[in-house]
Structure formats: C-alpha cells, structure tokens
C-alpha cells in the first residue's frame, strides 16, 4: 500500500522527467535535404525591434547584416572601406563629390529588384531626415544624384573623406520605407519662417515614423531572410536562395541553411548550452565562465579585442544648464597627473577583468583602430608610482592641513573629495571604482562613489553633476567620432567632461579636413599624445570580448580584422562567417523537423496542465484508497 503511493509519486516524477530522459539523442541523424542549422548564443534580446533605424547593442547588428546589405562594408582584413552594394567609389580631385557604382544583380526578398534609386533614396533619407545613429557618417549635408542605372554621385558641401570611412548604412527598399519620406522638398531660400517650421516639423514626423515602424516582416537583400522572431527566445533566419553573391547553401551541403540567434537571460545558462552542444557559439562570456570552458576539448575559447576602452573621465565643468558640480582641483593638471600615477592599471586588469583585458594608454584601440592607434611612448605616460603622485601633490600645495588624511586645496579650503560615478551595467565599472577608492586613499584623496545605471549616468554626464565617470567608449574603426569626445564644441554633446583645449581643437579640425591618409594619421598621433599628456581622461584598459565555439560542429571561422584577436562573430563584417562556415560533417549539425510552426502555443500549457491535474487526481484517489487499506 505504501508501495502504491510511491508508485504514484514516481509516476509524477516520470511524467516530468521521462521526456527528458527518453529523448536525449534528438534527431542527430540527418538526410541530405535536412538543413544545416547554426545556433548562436547571445546574452540579450534585440534592444528595440526589427527596425534597422534603431540598432543599438547585442545582436542588433547581427540581425541587420544578415537580413540587409550595407552600402559599403568594412573589409575583413583591416576594417577599411570595402565594396558591397556600392562596388566602386571615386572621389573628385577636390573631394567635394564621389562617383559611386552600384551593383545591379541584387533583388529584395519580396522579389523586387534592388536599384540604384534604392541606394540613393536611403542615403538621401539619412541626410535629409538626420537619422540618428547614421547621420554621423554623412557630414556636410550631402545630396545624392542618380546618373544612370548603375551610377550615383555623392555631393558634399565641403571636402570630405566620409564615404571612405566607410559610410555605414543599410540599403533599404524605397517601396517599403518611402512611405515615411513625406516632408517634400526643403523650402526655398528666403521662404517665410512658418514654411521653414512646417518643413522641420514634417522632417521630425517622418523621422519618428520611420524609427517607430515595427518592421515585422523585414524586406532586405542580405544573405538570410528572417523567418521568425520570438521575443525573449530567438531570431530564426533561413538562407536567401537569391542572394546576389549566390548563397553557398545552394551548392554546398555543409554550408549553413538556417541560423538561430538565441537570447539567454543569463550567461550561465548560455555557457551550459554551449557545453551541452545546444548552441555552436557563445558570445559575451564572463572571465569565470570563459576559463571554465577551457577544459572542454570540443570547445575553442577565443579572446577577441572588443575595440572598447574603459576609462576615468574627469569633469571640467561648464555643461549647459549650469548644474555642473565639478571639483576645481581637477582643472589642475598636477592633480590629474597624481591620480594617473596612483592607479595600478595592471591590478585592475588582473582583478576586475580577471586578466581578460589589457592595460590601455590611448583613446584609439590597437585592434579595431589598427594603424591609427598610437602606442604612447613611455616617457609620455604617467605610470604607477604612488610616491611620485604624493610628491606632485605636495609640490603643488595640496596638503593635509587638518590632519584628517585628506588633502585640502592649496588655499586650505575644500578637501580633495571627488565624486566618482560607477555604472553598474558597464563591465568592470563598479569593480574599478572599488580599487580606485584604495588608490586615491593612498595619495590622500577621498573618493565618494555613486553607483547608478547607465541611463542615470547619461543624465549625470549631460548635466555635469560629477567629478569623474568610470565608463567606456567603443570607437568606430575611423577615429573621427572618438576624437570629438575631447573637442570643446562637443560640450553638451559627446564631450566626456567638457574638456577644452584650443591646441586639441585645432588638431581635431585639421584631421577632419586632411584628405591624405598619412598626413591625417600624423595629426591624429599628435592628438593622442596630447590627450595622454593633458589627461582629460585616463584610459585604463582595452577589454576583450570573450567568445567560444564548438569545434566539433562547424569550422572555418575568420576573425575580423584579420589578426589573432579579431572578433569571430558579432563584430564589424563578421557576418561573412555565416557564409563561410562549414559543418564539420553533415551529421554534426542538429537537424530540425520540417514543420517550424511549433513552439509556443496555448495548448502546450493546457496539455501539461491537464496532465498535472490528472496526476494530482491519481495521487489523491490513491491516497484515499490507501487510507482505507490502513484501517
């Protein structure tokens, strides 16, 4: 009688686990026409939607580059401009215009041909509506003129190297997105103000409408077509058989037919999935997880240069709005130097990043920015030397006059008490803050840390209510944007802390107007030295993207840029790997049933619920019977 009870409990357990145990070796056997599926794990969902105007983080660009084609690409070799939909681009002698050739063999996934008009329309739309995210690549109000069915001209108001940066944008079908281009032509010179206002309002509306479009069935020309997007679960793509380059899966049975990008709420689950072979690639691992994968012989771990740097940005004050609360001492180079000397960058790398980052020195990164990066000469660096830091502060007159362990201003008033902002959703920021606290204590500076989210940090950054930010930047491959972070004119814009130095501003503008690559590089080298010397911020480290993949399922990864620590996936132009990867064997990739309509339906919970009730009922009735037996 006890046994029957136990049997009932067992039945319940089996009902729940049984499936798990029975179906371990799922569908490993494949036939020739069974698709080859590639599974990529990432730690977050799309940040907004399937709208290509609102890409941000995580897998956003991966989605964009699989479904759409960019006008120009970053070369896989060194991230310089490479042909894609635009195949040739030739500047005029004065760099005021570029003649571009557009490929004519591309079609949209809805069957319409991709024309030069689509390309010109997309670029015009960005320039005219000042589309955020892309407008930075289209400086000096360019206009675009279609010459014939494979040629267009980029007209600029000033000499520019912008197209060669390259200008990054997704070519969109005018027949879909044209509906948002409703502002008409700009009012003529000298038109009444009301007309100008109405036009600006129309631009705003078009911009908002385009950015808010849900774009649930994206029509693109890229190598894959979006089959399904399940929020919180995955993106599913199938090969585009009409891809202009010819999709490899149409010929090679080992090429990828379908891609799943799966979102994991936490990295732990993602790592377990990689180990279990449920995914082929994992991105954005933490050092602990990454190191734990090294013992798995079917998994290859890869440290890639993320192309980002962690830094401490000082506030110089003067932000628009007049709410800045910067400490006057930070305007003194001596104090900034002393702080730089107090920091043990290597310890931060070792402890906060568990040795997966490298010590940094310049605001351009050695990997992504390639030859633009200047390895700052040692004599221009302020290395770890707390004694020197103390000496500098003593000499500059910052003494601890009241004996509380904290130095005061030379006039004996304010103590050196700085408010640091640590950001809890930025990798390493809080940990760096914890170590900084100790470094500054050693040189008689008090540090108060305020920990906030990055949205709050954005607000603080704008209002200037801080002394230093522990944050990061991820520069573009071209240095132009990141250079603006130290320019006076960007105060209230992209400027880190309203740093202002006429010498720097001159260099910033000179590089913008210098069309010669080598000349421009020299100017940018000078700017890097200047920043390293004058310390508007301290670059602490270049962190790495920790990636891992299974070597027993797919092979043929190419890093971008083509160096040992280039990114394998989720980087600039890494999507080419989806075309180049091959299944190790035809059997290796897990196959799927041909009916992909499964998944989340109301009847799944219903069935399981009914099952649960049935089990409960069985248990209860068994129970009662047992009671009878007992008496």
């Amino acid at each position: 009688m006890k046994a029957t009870r136990r049997a009932a409990v067992l039945a319940a357990v089996i009902w729940l686990t049984g499936g798990a145990l029975m179906t371990q070796p799922v569908s490993a056997q494949t036939s020739d026409d069974e698709p080859v599926i590639y599974d990529l794990g990432v730690d977050s969902d799309l940040s907004h939607s399937l709208n290509p105007w609102r890409l941000c983080c995580g897998p956003d660009y991966e989605y964009g580059e699989l479904v759409y084609d960019t006008g120009l690409a970053y070369s896989q070799e060194d991230l310089t401009a490479a042909p894609k939909i635009i195949t040739e681009w030739t500047p005029s002698d004065d760099y005021m215009s570029y003649t571009m050739k557009v490929r004519t063999d591309a079609t949209w996934s809805d069957g319409e041909p991709l024309t030069v008009e689509d390309v010109a329309w997309t670029m015009n739309f960005i320039s005219k509506y000042k589309m955020p995210l892309y407008i930075g690549y289209f400086p000096f109000n360019p206009t675009f003129e279609v010459v014939d069915d494979e040629t267009l001209i980029w007209h600029s108001e000033e000499p520019t190297f912008a197209p060669e940066v390259p200008a990054y944008f997704f070519v969109l079908p005018e027949h879909i997105w044209g509906q948002f281009d409703t502002a008409g032509d700009p009012p003529a010179e000298g038109a009444p103000q009301s007309e100008v206002d109405a036009y600006n309002e129309a631009l705003k509306e078009g911009r908002s409408a385009a950015r808010e479009f849900a774009n649930e069935d994206p029509v693109g020309s890229g190598p894959f077509i979006l089959d399904e997007y399940r929020k919180g679960e995955y993106l599913h793509f199938v090969a585009n058989p009409n891809y202009w380059g010819g999709h490899p899966s149409t010929e090679d049975p080992r090429a990828i037919d379908e891609v799943y990008i799966r979102f994991f709420g936490n990295l732990e689950a993602m790592t377990q999935a990689l180990e279990a072979g449920q995914i082929d690639f994992a991105d954005g691992l933490t050092p602990g997880l990454f190191n734990s994968l090294k013992s798995n012989e079917d998994v290859v771990t890869h440290v890639a240069d993320a192309g980002c740097w962690g830094d401490i940005a000082f506030n110089f004050g003067g932000q628009p709005g007049g709410k800045a609360t910067n400490h006057p001492a930070l305007q003194d180079l001596a104090v900034r130097q002393a702080i730089a000397h107090s920091i043990d960058k290597q310890e931060i790398v070792d402890k906060v990043f568990e040795r997966t980052a490298v010590v940094g020195d310049s605001f351009l990164t050695p990997g992504k920015n390639g030859s633009w990066y200047l390895d700052i000469p040692p004599d221009l660096e302020y290395g770890y030397d707390p004694a020197e830091a103390n000496r500098i502060l003593d000499d500059a007159g910052y003494l601890d006059t009241d004996g509380d362990g904290v130095r005061e201003m030379p006039d004996g008033t304010d103590p050196l008490d700085f408010e640091f902002i640590a950001i809890n959703d930025v990798d390493g920021s809080v940990g760096t803050g914890q170590l900084m606290d100790g470094y500054l204590r050693d040189i008689g500076i008090k540090m108060t840390t305020t920990t906030v989210d990055s949205d709050k940090a954005t607000e603080i950054w704008g209002s200037g209510e801080f002394d230093a930010l522990i944050w990061d930047w991820c520069p573009d491959p071209d240095p132009d944007f990141i250079l603006s972070v130290f320019a006076t004119e960007e105060c209230g814009g992209w400027s880190n802390g309203c740093y202002s130095n006429p010498e720097y501003d001159a260099l910033y503008h000179a590089q913008k107007q210098e069309m010669d690559r080598d000349e421009r590089e020299q100017i940018i080298d000078e700017a890097q030295e200047l920043v390293a010397q004058d310390l508007p911020e301290i670059v602490l480290n270049y962190w790495s993207e920790l990636q891992a993949y299974r070597s027993d399922t797919f092979e043929g990864y190419h890093p971008t840029p083509n160096v040992e620590n280039g990114l394998l996936m989720l980087g600039y132009s890494t999507t080419v790997n989806y075309l180049e990867l091959r299944a190790v064997s035809e059997q290796a990739a897990p196959g799927a049933g041909d009916d992909s309509s499964g998944g989340l339906n109301w009847w799944v919970p219903a069935l399981v619920g009914v099952g649960g009730i049935a089990v409960a009922w069985v248990l209860i009735s068994r129970r009662s019977r047992n009671e009878d037996d007992e008496e």
Partner: protein, 323 residues
C-alpha cells in the same frame, strides 16, 4: 540560565512616567502588574526551553549574532576590501585560515566575507523588521481601535499594499531611490508591513471587545492610555511572534533584491556574494565555495528565525498550546 536578549524583548515597553489620564493607577498596582508579567515571562521561558525547535533556532541564531558582533575582531577589514586584499583570486578552499572557504574574484577570503556579510544581512533583516512592525502596528491598531471611517480608509490602504506585487514595487523603489543599505531596508519595510497590519487589526478588534476595555472607557480613560495600557500589551504577543517570522522574510527579500542586482554595491551581504558569484559564472566554472556557503548561511538564519517564531507562537498563543 541568565537573562537572554529574548526575555528582555518579551517584556512590554516601558511606560512613560506620568501618563495623562491615569489617576487610577497607584504605584502598588503597577508593581503588581509588573510582578505578574515577570512571572508570566519566567513561565513562558520555561515553556520555551522545552521547545526543542525553538531552542535549536535560538542556539544557531546566537552563533550568527555573536559572529556578526565580533566580526570586526575576527575579520581583517583590509582583506575584504577589493583594493587592499592580498589573497590569490578564485582560490579553492584550503586548510590555511582564513582560506577555509577559498577566495572570490578579488582574492577576498569567502569565510571572512560571510562573517562580515552576517552583519549586513542581520542588520537588514532586523531593522527592516522593526520598521515593518512599527508601521504595521500603528496602522493595525489605529484601524482596529478607532474603527469607522478610519478603519475603512486604513483597511483599504492595507489591502492595496497586500495586492500590489511586492517584488515589482520593491525593484522600482530601489531603482528610484538608489541601491543603498538604508533604502533597501526602507523598501523591505514598505513592502511588507501590510500583513502585520492586518494581523494586528484583527487582534486589536478582539481585545477591544473585551470587557475591561469597556470598563476602562467608562471610567473616562483617554485613547492613548487605552492603547498603551490595554491594547498594546495584549496585542504584543501576536506582534512579537510575527516579528520573529518577519525577519526571515526580510532577509529573503534582501537576498532576492541582491540576486536581481539591486543590492548595495558597496557593502557585502550574503545576497550580494551569491549575486557576484552567479554573475562571475560560479556555476559553470565550478566555484562552488563561493556560491553555496552564503546560501547555506541564509537558510540557517531564516530557518532559525522561523523556528523561534513558531515556538514563540505556540507559547504566546495559548490556544495552540493545548495540543
């Protein structure tokens, strides 16, 4: 056995001298009352001592409280400061003190983090509970005692706090006010007082109906007198047993908030240790010594509070004792 903190707490609150509206209470009467209470205490303690569950809880708690109080003497604070620690990061447990439980990613000894964390976790639990009790008792007694519209309004307010999803409210409040220890305590108190209020209100209603309150009212005693002299002492046993149970909930709430990344980033609690371990991949990487012990500490402490709470409930609620 000497006087434990528990006994001291069980006594009713000190009466303010010269409470107005109390001309009928001669000193000797008060002494009699106190004597009776002391006697009741001793009796209750003897009952408690024979409650195995309660005693086990009390012993475990005493150990943790002692550790928390002595933490500054046991723990070298430099070693649990990320900037100053000298340990090797992520070291597995070894026989060398204080590395019995290994180290975390900064090289801080997990053992010392746990001892230091006991201070924070217990403080959060206890202070939040006191807040919960004060809030819940005020609202509950006011609603039950005054009745009528006040009751209706307060009751609606209480009900409303009972139905809003506490964790969502807590997360939002922490996000608004910032994740510092004080705020976390406040938020826990704000999201958990309603249950106490309901309980206290019910008890107040019962007490109010009792005859001596009616008699007290007839003699012209003021509300304050009635509440402090008659309602509170009689409601107190219920509040107290509930308090001890609430500590468990408060500690668990703090853990939950910490696991979601809403702990105070500048202090070490058991919850934040688990969160850091989890986010550093302790599960896959196998840093079990970093993940498991803080959870066990939480279980032990909440379990002890719960066991003490049930024991007290059994003693202070005589209806249960008969069984």
């Amino acid at each position: 056995m000497g006087l434990t903190p528990l006994e001291a707490q069980v006594g009713p609150p000190e009466q303010p001298e010269g409470t107005p509206g109390d001309p009928q209470a001669p000193r000797s009467a008060r002494a009699i009352v106190w004597g009776r209470r002391r006697h009741a205490l001793a009796y209750n303690w003897s009952l408690y001592r024979h409650n195995t569950q309660g005693m086990i809880g009390l012993v475990i708690l005493s150990v943790f409280i002692a550790l928390a109080l002595l933490a500054p003497l046991i723990v070298d604070q430099a070693e649990i400061t990320p900037a100053d620690t000298t340990g090797v990061p992520l070291q597995a447990p070894s026989a060398d003190y204080p590395y019995w439980l290994g180290t975390d990613n900064f090289g801080r000894p997990v053992l010392w983090l746990l001892i230091w964390g006991a201070r924070i976790s217990l403080t959060v639990g206890l202070v939040a509970t006191v807040g919960t009790m004060v809030l819940g008792s005020i609202v509950g007694i006011a609603a039950g005692y005054f009745g009528g519209r006040i009751d209706t309004a307060l009751n609606a307010f209480t009900n409303w706090f009972l139905v809003i999803p506490w964790l969502v409210l807590a997360i939002v409040l922490v996000a608004i006010l910032g994740p510092s220890l004080g705020i976390i305590i406040l938020v826990i108190a704000l999201t958990s007082w309603a249950g106490t209020a309901r309980l206290v209100r019910a008890q107040t209603l019962t007490v109010k109906e009792r005859l001596y309150v009616e008699r007290g009212k007839a003699l012209g005693a003021g509300n304050w007198h009635l509440i402090t002299r008659h309602i509170l002492p009689n409601v107190f046993p219920v509040i107290f047993a509930n308090t001890v149970l609430t500590v468990s909930l408060a500690i668990l709430s703090e853990t939950t908030l910490a696991l979601l990344g809403l702990g105070d980033p500048n202090s070490v609690s058991w919850g934040t240790i688990i969160e850091e371990a989890f986010n550093s991949g302790a599960l896959t990487a196998g840093y079990w010594w970093w993940l498991i012990p803080p959870g066990i500490c939480i279980v032990l402490v909440t379990l002890s509070f719960t066991m003490c709470g049930y024991a007290l409930d059994e003693i202070l609620n005589p209806k249960l004792r008969e069984r």
